[in-house]
Amino acid sequence: MKFSKFFTVCMLHALLFFFIFTPGVWAKKPIVIGVPTSIGFLEGKECLKSVQLAVEEINEKGGVKVGNESRMLKVESLDIRDAAPGVPVPEALLGIEKLILEKKPTALVVGPFRSEALMAAMDIIAKYKVPLLGTIAMSPASEGKIKKNPEKYKYIFRLCLNAKYLVKYLAGTMGFINSQFGFNKVYIMNQDVAWARKTAEIVKKVYFDKAGWEVVGMESYPTGTSDFSSALMKVKAKGAQVILPIFDMPQSGILVKQWNAMKVPSLMAGFISPLAGPSAWKTFNKKIEGAINVNFEMGSAISSDKIPLSKTFVESYEKRWGKKLEAGHGPAPSYESVYLLAEAIERANSLDPDAIVEELEKTDRQGVMGRIKFDEGHQTVYDMDPDKAAVAAVVQWTDAGKRTIVFPPLIAEGKIKLPKGLAAVK
Amino acid sequence: MLEVKDLMVFFENALALNGLSLTVNKGEIVGIIGSNSAGKTTLMNTLSGLIIDMRIKEELRGGERISVYGKVLYKNKDITLTKPDERVKMGIVLSRERHPIFPESSVVENMKIAGYLRTKKEIQETMQYVFELFPGLTKYKKKRAGFLSGGEQQMLAIGMALIVRPEVLLLDEPLLGLSPMMQKSVVDAIRDLNKSIGITVILSEQFARPVLPMIDKGYVVENGMLTLSGTGQELMDNPEIKAAYFGV
């Protein structure tokens, strides 16, 4: 008696299990998009959510057409923790391999944080032939690798800004500042990681040195530094009017606070990740007025009236997840990459990686970040005009706690204003 | 006052104490005589409860299995399984072998640490007494205990035990490694404190000669077993004891 009851319950459970977890019985197998990244970090977290948002939107509209049938998209994410300093690269690579081998994704998006992890992952991706649309790591070295051996590494694309384009934006902003206020003394502070250091070096070489600026100091800080007093004192002593910071570590918040507390009379203009999102105003207790920051891609925690899609994206993200976007790097391209992929699959009409890659190379899409096209290094082209290329946005915090886009001019909402206590030289 | 009944202690499979029984009356000085590894220290540890602490720690570590059988009665209460700090509160204080002191602290601080369970005033009073008992310590009050000589350290160790104001004082080999002269002054001090404040003292020793004259009762332990017992005088007259334990 008792046993038969137990048996029935067991059977019922088994049946239930069968129906719930195997939707494949009646639906066509979904197309899997893998998201191997460091989900425990702000950028990773928001990138994943953006990808999920895009997938949900596409599925709502009926999925992706391959052949004669519509197939749903499905996200499989895996935390590879490569952004944490103690994690060895093989550990991250093993995660990517696991994702590829076990979930059989059609493509990967977002990808590793650290450039060295991306560089190492490229070989694995080439081995398994799974397209990767990277949106975080930004060292130009990976493009070099693609250009050197295009056939082998053709599966790797990058949608986010790379260091080269970041230089362009920084140089542009600096030029603006120079022409508007006559400032020409700069102090460069950067995190001691490949992309940041390279960016700093290139800005100095291609812009400051040529445009007649005086670079009064250049410091690189190991990840984890928690005191910037000596550099700030040097800034003051040497009379630098502009500080150019390039940081994406959480501790860079200390730099902002210290800049504030030490009342350094210079304009903070560059990239510090804590300054990108809307919550920075509260984080820094309303004391970041005048700070200028680059949001790496339009749509990543910033939107412009002139690019309607970016507004839709930022708003629907907030609606879907109940929280505003904060990361100035990653979310918009992550969101876009799903659309690019869906379109490429439909055009290729197949799930064959080589066919998808071929179509991806032909991408030309007006999206959240502007117009998206790839160059021969599989890097999305960034420029100043959203109708011609993808754009980033340089924003300034105003005294009302709002962010105004000040560069590039085509999408600018206002002019750069000097914060209180800082006067133009001319 | 203190009664031990059929005490057996095993370290793993090795028998350290075997069916040991003894009685201690109030105000007595009792000597436990036995050669090395006869079980004196184990007995002292069992009386003071240290063995309970050791057993718990070994068990947690998955190491040696220590088993204790038999009974230890104190003022007619069974304290076999009482933890050492509880026993200290009851008035049983052990001064371990090889002059246990805190080498990094000064002499006065050592006593203060020992007075953990006593009030400041009590510590001050007892400290006064200790310095009277061992005038040799007075000049080293501020000196780090680790730099004292062996005999002075032993004096300090006894002094520290006194700070706790014990009713039963256990001294494990207090004379070990002391020169004959030092031995004498320590023996005098023990006799003195037994007489003046009536503390019950149990001490263990390898060599009977210096301690036999002062003890009221003595037990001879060999291989964990009691072989002989009697008053100090009786033991002194015993030819076997003379042969075995009266080395220089």
């Binding site: 989900i39 690269v89 093989p90 690579l93 081998l101 076990e102 560089m119 490949a194 | 059988y69």
Partner: protein, 334 residues
């Protein structure tokens, strides 16, 4: 009547290492089974596993090697917190050889093993006199420092590292090479630690002054142990470099220092087999936990705590003890 649990050893003679009493078939099984089961298991396993789990097995073997290397050091009285140093140095040597001069892996790996051992030994030579926790701390710090040095001086590709190493011919070579070496290390060094030479090494840990007192230069022996251990670690690093075709600062990551120790603590120190067993448990566990996503490391941590608390002596010694001893209740006789 009171009873007491008694432990009895299953014949001291059968275990004492040198005096074998191979009298019966059962006796022989009893002695040889624990040796053959893992060998055969490791040799067959790759054939049964898919590509991904093969990679995991590779990882197991690499961590087992690091754990063995840790255990050899620990048995010699040097508790290291920096296996990453050995791993990283090996990785960078083979990386540099392969990247700058195109030395093929089958030459660069052995070179990295030997020179990695020499370089690490030289690096730690000044601190050989340190004991206990101070030695541990120095070993913890040196890899961290090397990372900073590479970062600051931009040598060997700086923060980006070197990529595009020559891979090994096939994944079968990868996995069998590392398993083979691991088994050789496991049994070879177990044997060594049981020999007279090993006794001296273990003596240093147990009681270094007694060893000095025997007229033996403990620093020379410590140096040798250090060389052995760092060579093993360097081999692991060199191999991983060719498997993942990449070498960079993360080869000095804290994980390479901590997880081998965790493996030894879980498996049981002082046996080498325990170290291997620990790696065999922890690495697949960590992989299996990937399903938990972000919670993975949390669970991993909890497992570690539970292991260390539940079986403080380690699994292998525990199993070994149970394998070798009976327990029975005996009466406490009067």
């Amino acid at each position: 009547m009171k009873k007491r649990k008694e432990r009895i050893d299953r014949g001291i003679k059968a275990r004492s290492g040198d005096i074998f009493a191979l009298s019966s078939y059962r006796e022989m099984m009893y002695l040889s089974a624990p040796r053959f089961v893992p060998i055969i298991g490791f040799l067959i396993l790759p054939l049964l596993l898919g590509v991904y789990w093969q990679k995991v097995l590779l990882s197991v073997a690499v961590f087992a090697l690091l754990a063995i290397s840790w255990d050899i050091l620990a048995q010699t009285g040097m508790v290291s917190l920096g296996q990453a140093l050995f791993f990283g140095v090996g990785a960078y040597i083979t990386g540099a050889l392969n990247h700058y001069w195109g030395v093929p892996p089958f030459i660069s790996i052995p070179l990295a093993t030997i020179f990695g051992g020499i370089i690490c030994t030289l690096m730690l030579l000044p601190v050989l006199r340190l004991r206990g926790i101070y030695f541990s701390m120095v070993t913890l710090i040196i890899p961290l420092m090397l990372v900073r040095v590479i970062e600051a001086t931009k040598i060997f590709g700086g923060t980006e590292g070197l990529t595009g190493m020559t891979p090994l011919p096939s994944r079968w070579v990868e996995v069998y090479l590392v398993i083979g070496i691991m088994l050789v290390c496991l049994f070879g060094f177990r044997r060594m630690m049981d020999s007279d030479y090993g006794l001296v090494l273990r003596g240093i840990c147990d009681n270094d002054r007694s060893v000095i007192n025997a007229g033996i230069n403990i620093y020379w022996y410590k140096t040798q142990a250090l060389f052995i251990a760092s060579s093993i670690g360097a081999f692991a690093g060199a191999l991983m470099t060719h498997v993942y075709m990449f070498v960079g600062m993360p080869v000095f990551a804290l994980d390479y220092s901590i997880f081998p120790i965790a493996a030894v603590v879980v498996g049981g120190p002082g046996t080498l087999a325990g170290a291997t067993l620990g790696a065999c448990l922890l690495v697949p566990l960590s992989e299996a936990l990937r399903g938990f996503g972000g919670l993975r490391i949390v669970f991993y941590g909890i497992f570690l705590v539970v292991f260390t608390v539940a079986i403080p002596e380690g699994i292998f010694p525990y199993v070994q003890r149970k394998y070798n001893e009976f327990e029975r209740w005996v009466e406490v006789d009067k």
